[in-house]
């Protein structure tokens, strides 16, 4: 490491941090999509990432289906899992309180993790990079080509999601449900369908995260809980329900971890990210950018 200049190290850490941060951001967005419509924190969010990566690995590597199609099939299947979860685990809840919903989603995440172990076993799975290309050298830092796919797809998703919420009828209906479910019902929006849709959309986002990161980090059945925690941290840091806050906080957490690993020690990377998170929470209880539901409660 001595031969690499400080500048290249910094560039290296920035790209590593942004890559991991992109996944945190996608998970955090997934939390927010469901939270805004239902006020549920879906702790199974990390499992969607795992399932997205593992299904992609089976389709593309074991079955030899072209990566492009595998990607979309995987995302589609996982969003189906999202809707099944809603139908079987969330909708049947009687007298749902915040706590029972938290417990239900924890139970679901345990079940999904168990199923993943049952289906795929405990070994990590690999997927080929989306395009075979040599690493790019930028200011002395080596950056895998897949990194650009991760960043590009994540940014494209955020843009697409913004357009969806602002310009499509379904997007507007979902925002209406988030603002005021009663009033949304009065103008003929089925809140049940919007909730179902939010679960599917959020599962799809997680699956995309899993699919794009697996070529870099591999994927195994028990990654979900940690990803959910980090994503939850990002969602809280950005202010629950705040989309841009979630994206910014996701990247911020990724960068913090990456720099802490590089300059301090990899064993303290989580501690440093968490201390910053707690510091922000204690100083600004509504998150960095404020919650969408500020003043409620």
């Amino acid at each position: 490491m001595d031969s690499i200049s400080l500048g290249s190290q910094v560039v290296q850490y920035i790209f590593t941090g942004l890559t991991v941060g992109a996944i945190y951001a996608l998970v955090a967005l997934g939390f927010n999509i469901i939270y805004n419509v239902t006020e549920v924190i879906n702790f199974a969010q990390g499992e969607f990432v795992v399932w997205g990566g593992l299904i992609l690995a089976v389709l593309a590597e074991s079955l030899g289906i072209p990566l492009f199609f595998s990607f979309f099939i995987s995302v589609g299947l996982v969003s189906l899992v999202g809707t099944v979860i809603y139908w079987t685990g969330i909708r049947p809840l009687r007298q749902p309180t915040i706590l029972t919903m938290i417990m239900a989603t924890i139970a679901i995440s345990i079940i999904l993790k168990g199923l993943a172990m049952f289906i795929w076993g405990k070994d990590p799975y690999a997927v080929q990079p989306f395009v075979e290309a040599p690493p790019v050298t930028l200011w002395g830092a080596y950056i895998q080509a897949q990194t650009f796919w991760v960043l590009g797809i994540s940014v494209a998703l955020v843009v697409a999601l913004t357009l969806f919420y602002q310009h499509t009828l379904t997007g507007k209906a979902m925002r209406a449900c988030a603002d005021n479910p009663g009033a949304a019902g009065l103008v003929g929006i089925s809140s049940g369908r919007m909730i179902l849709f939010s679960f599917a959309l959020s599962a799809a986002l997680g699956a995309v995260g899993g699919a794009i990161i697996t070529p870099i980090t591999l994927m195994e059945y028990d990654r979900g809980a940690m990803l959910a925690l980090k994503g939850f941290g990002a969602a809280i840091l950005g202010g629950l329900g705040n989309f841009y806050g979630a994206v910014a906080a996701g990247f911020l957490l990724g960068l913090l971890e990456s720099f802490a690993t590089g300059f301090i020690s990899s064993s303290y990377k989580d501690a440093i990210a968490l201390i910053v998170l707690l510091g922000v929470l204690f100083a600004r209880p509504q998150g960095l950018m404020g919650s969408s539901l500020q003043g409620d409660e």
Binding site: L99, M103, A104, K113, L115, I236, S267, A271, F282, P285
Partner: protein
Amino acid sequence: MTMPLPEKNQTVTHIFLFALFVAVLPWVFGLSRATSYYTDVMVFVAIHSIIAAGLSLLLGYAGQISLGQAAFYGVGAYASGILTTRLGLSPWVGIMAGMALAAGLAYGVGLPALRLKGHYLAMATLGFGMIVYIVFNEFIGLTGGPSGFGEIPPIHFFGMEISSTLGFYYLVWTFALVVLWISLNIVHSRPGRALRAIHDSEKAAAGVGIDITRAKVQIFVVSGVFGALAGSLYAHFVTFINPPPFDIFFSIKVLMMVVIGGIGSIWGAYLGAALLTFLPEWLAFLEDFDVLAYGIILLAIVMFSPDGLVGLGSRVMGRIRNIKY
């Protein structure tokens, strides 16, 4: 969600009957070779009950969630382990030091954290638990790091060394019963009523002059002290500690005990602790797939009986009574 409260002297009778039941249990288990190791399991039931009682007070009566209880459990275990092995101090000093340290930590963290609400509080306590877990792993000089350390001495009681399982069983259940008695007393006391008022409405509670922050922090400190006591007992029973038993998944497990037993019932916490401690024994034949069974059981209880086993029990009893009349 709060259960109707029984009369105070009725509480003492209940605890006494429960103590009798606990006292004869090892002899019942001893009748069959297949169940004789249940005495061992019951030691862990007592340990888990103590930590679950603390969370039950916090969650069921004050309405504050904590996903960081394992941190206090670990603080108790490591305080006991380090003070007795490194400094050669008495286990009782270790237990007291663990509880004092946990109380200080709970106060320091609770003061800023308990101003947060709902999901934000969940995240803050989760983060606290994870940081403490990292400390256990990384402060290798003090904690032995990931490989931990052993040879933690047994507890002496009036010169008698308590190293047999049966001896420890009676010791740890004595603690568990005292914790039960204290918890039920807190519920019935003025602070307990204040907590329930906070649970129902913070604004109304503040309106009648309850110092909300103080009440919440107080009960968080109590839950931390119970957690540390449980951890110390664990360390002296197992005589070896390393970080994994104190990770965030244990915090979630304690939360599961409280929810499965019945939120708003201290007895429920004990019931939930018993169920979740015996389940791994009964599900051992599933090997790795026991997690699936956990998930399904938890989901089923949340779905069909959101007020836990205690709620289920009282509904069933209600139906039976209705049939009689």
